[in-house]
């Protein structure tokens, strides 16, 4: 179903041909090692590239061009798969089949991609400082806005504190102070390095065959000078050293309790499918132990759920609770994991979780953006295709889940509470 074609040394296209959608899409990703030194540069780069090009020298002309292409969208991407940073662009657009005779959108979108990548708006062979400054400020504002949504802010703080000695602890967009220090010249130099020395992963879903898409994408990159590509990978900590508790305060009305656990299991490990199923039994979805026992039976939280950071070997449990429920909620949440370790998983819990995951995997094939994200992950680290993962989940038994639960250790308990509490 997904076809992988190497376009050139270090440039790979993954393509899914389908006639199901009215929308075609592609992403272009430059793969970097996520680290403090480069995080801010990587995050700033796509916004500056999309600010102006030689043929479209301001945001208004870019926007008008995309309007003319029947409301196509072309946006920036900055994502992390473990400690692999993928920076680039995501585009979606109406399929040519739905246009008046003779009109095209896909080919012009590739032209536009080439324009953005290779004909940036420059002055003295460098990005225009005024544009760089403008986008720096926007990025700083976005970074500072991460405190606005308390739920994701608490998770962000946990990651930062728990992984302070790992690259993973550096926020996805870097730090505001690092952004502030970037100069146009520095960003330009970084971009030349990104273009030459990053693996480039392309992903496409649409009506064209993989071969046809490969041929068209090749032209975007044809004749460009490329060098050795930089190494990428993720450090995995198998077991937590000791359990730590951190409390912080903010002027909020609902407390946020976030627990970080080390699973030590990533997509590259044979135990990964079992961990995924265990996570569903424990804390993901409406039949999970956290939802049924902690939220519904005990009425302890408005929300309580677990999620895997599957490239890093980390599990994160988040919940929203009253300030005075900290101890009881923490004990209840960790108690449900202990129950999994003891093998207290009913057939109904197991089968509901399995059905939910299998259904989500089948449904992923209906959602281009989810396929894009899934295969972006496969480009960053080894792992199963959707179809392989499906077969493995279908065949698992309870003992594999218990083993996965026993591999998990609590690293950090983080509580964001009110000013007065």
């Amino acid at each position: 179903m997904v076809e992988t074609i190497q376009l050139a040394e270090g440039i790979t296209l993954r393509a899914v041909q389908t006639r199901k959608f009215k929308t075609g899409c592609f992403s272009v990703n430059f793969l970097r090692r996520h680290c403090r030194r480069d995080a801010a540069l990587d995050a700033l780069l796509p916004s500056v590239l999309l600010r102006a090009t030689q043929n479209y020298p301001d945001i208004s002309s870019i926007s008008k061009h995309l309007d003319e292409l029947y409301g196509a969208s072309f946006g920036t991407l900055v994502r992390m798969k473990g400690e692999v940073k993928m920076t680039g662009f995501y585009a979606d657009f109406i399929e040519d089949a739905f246009l008046p005779d003779g009109e095209q959108v896909f080919a012009p979108m590739l032209d536009f991609l080439q324009e953005v990548l290779y004909r940036p708006y420059t002055e003295n062979a460098c990005f225009l400082p005024r544009f760089v400054e403008g986008e720096k400020q926007n990025l700083i504002n976005t970074i500072e806005a991460s405190q606005n949504d308390k739920r994701s802010y608490a998770s962000l703080r946990l990651r930062q504190l728990m992984c302070e000695n790992e690259d993973y602890g550096v926020p996805r967009l870097g730090y505001a102070e690092d952004v502030a220090a970037i100069t146009a010249q520095e960003l330009w130099t970084h971009y030349q390095d990104v273009l030459r020395h990053s693996r480039i992963e392309l992903f496409y879903v649409g009506r064209r065959s993989a071969q046809e898409a490969a041929q068209m994408f090749s032209q975007v990159f044809a004749g460009r000078e490329r060098g050795e590509t930089v190494e990428i990978g993720t450090q995995v900590i198998r077991t937590a050293n000791a359990e730590r508790t951190v409390m912080e305060r903010m002027d909020i009305t609902q407390g946020k309790l976030v627990i970080g656990l080390r699973t030590g299991i990533t997509t590259q490990d044979s135990a990964f499918p079992a961990l995924m199923l265990l996570n569903a039994v424990y804390g993901s979805g409406v039949t999970s132990k956290l939802f049924v026992n902690v939220r519904e039976k005990l009425s302890l939280c408005y929300y309580a759920g677990s999620a895997l950071e599957k490239y890093k070997g980390v599990m994160i449990v988040s919940s929203g609770i009253e300030f005075d429920k900290f101890e009881v909620a923490r004990d209840a949440i960790l108690g449900e994991l202990e129950a999994c370790r003891r093998g207290e998983i009913t057939d109904e819990e197991l089968e509901s979780a399995r059905r939910a995951i299998l259904s989500a995997l089948r449904a992923a094939l209906d959602a281009p953006a989810r396929l894009d994200d899934y295969y972006a992950g496969l480009a960053a680290a080894k792992g199963d295709t959707v179809e392989e993962l499906y077969d493995k989940i279908a065949a698992l038994d309870k003992s594999a889940l218990v083993d996965a639960a026993r591999a998990i250790s609590t690293d950090m308990i983080y509580f964001l509470k009110g000013v007065e509490a």
């Binding site: 389908t18 006639r19 199901k20 959608f21 009215k22 929308t23 301001d58 945001i59 208004s60 926007s63 008008k64 995309l66 309007d67 003319e68 029947y70 409301g71 196509a72 979606d92 109406i94 739905f98 403008g134 400020q137 926007n138 504002n141 976005t142 500072e144 806005a145 991460s146 405190q147 606005n148 949504d149 308390k150 739920r151 903010m250 002027d251 909020i252 009305t253 609902q254 979805g285 409406v286 039949t287 939220r295 519904e296 009425s299 939280c301 408005y302 929203g320 609770i321 009253e322 109904e348 509901s352 059905r355 939910a356 299998l358 259904s359 989500a360 089948r362 449904a363 094939l365 209906d366």
Partner: protein
Amino acid sequence: MKQHVFPRLGEEYWQEILDNGLTVRVVPKRGFARSYAFVGVDYGAVDTRFQLGAEAITTPGGVAHYLEHKMFDLPEGDAMNLFAQYGASPNAFTGYAMTAYYFDCTENFEENLRILLRMVATPYFSQQSVEKERGIIAQEIRMYEDSADSRLYEDLFAALFASHPIRVPIAGTVESIQEITNQTLETCHAAFYHPANMMLCVVGDVDPARVAQVARELTETKRRALPVRDYGAQESVNCVKPRVERTMEVSMPTFAFGFKCEAPTDGGDAMKAEIIGALAAEILAGESSPLFMRLYEQGLIDSGFAADYESVKNACIFTVSGDSRDPDAVYQAVLDEGKRLAKEGFPKEDFERLVKSALGRRMRDLDSFESICYRMCAYHFEGVDYFRFPAVYESVQAEDVQAFLSRTVQESRAAISIIRPKEREE
């Protein structure tokens, strides 16, 4: 069932209106693993006052949302678990104008459809279960209270309107939900959860006739009288309170200003009014507009800056929102740009380009099962067939948009809601 084909969209639907008044509509999508079923109830947070027979009823804020939470209780157990047994992911939401229940599945479609229909048709509230839910809903309300986005719009609506129930937050307040009992829920369920006040919409690789058959089996047979809603007297287009500000834990000031608009006179106009409003939003403040470009270059706005048009049962609002270090400068710039556009107008090619872009995006939106169902129901309750949108776009003229902007972007109609960061103690 009757087939309706829309060649320009590459779509079709099958429709039947059952004897009890329920509209069943199925949009076949071949080759998809997913199927999606959605029951929309024409009952939302603003339906707090109504006449049922001889009786005038006023309910506390937040009943529609409370009811949504409790509809998942069935005599045989929690509907969530029943769906899970058949591999579906169910969910629900309450808006100002609509409550909806839906599921997504890749197997056992018919079993899941049965659970969905049984769920909305079965009020099963014990005093104890209603009591228990109160804590969960109070927590949910607390979460909205911490959300700058929710607060911003709640403040704005309360500032714009004198008496329209859109002034009350969707979930109500921690105080208002204390007054809700199982009796309140039963009354509102009986009044509004009637087949003639609902629509079942299904998208996926399914058999339309079978969907209608199951719906016939599981919904009540006779028609009942529907309640008469009361949203208060038609309000003037002048706002009540021109400004509301508060401080919260946000990093940058965030703002929304709204201009009150005339309500469309009859259902047929609802879609046209919405399209005119949306195109006006693009002309005034869209990414390709002169205003956007100028404010962006000045660092007064970021890419989140946008205008929009919303209409909820006689409450029609043209909004402009975003984040800015200086919301008042943005506000003044928008008022000035409104005046300029009223006087000078805009190039015809800008209008044509924006129509092309909007049509393309609406077409692409037909890939989203969620969006198809939501819009089909929302428009159906306004008496409009959603799939007729290409013709409506073509009927809109640049002059309509020009007239809308001249009429609407006026200071007398506007209120501004701002949330500023708290002063940090160093």
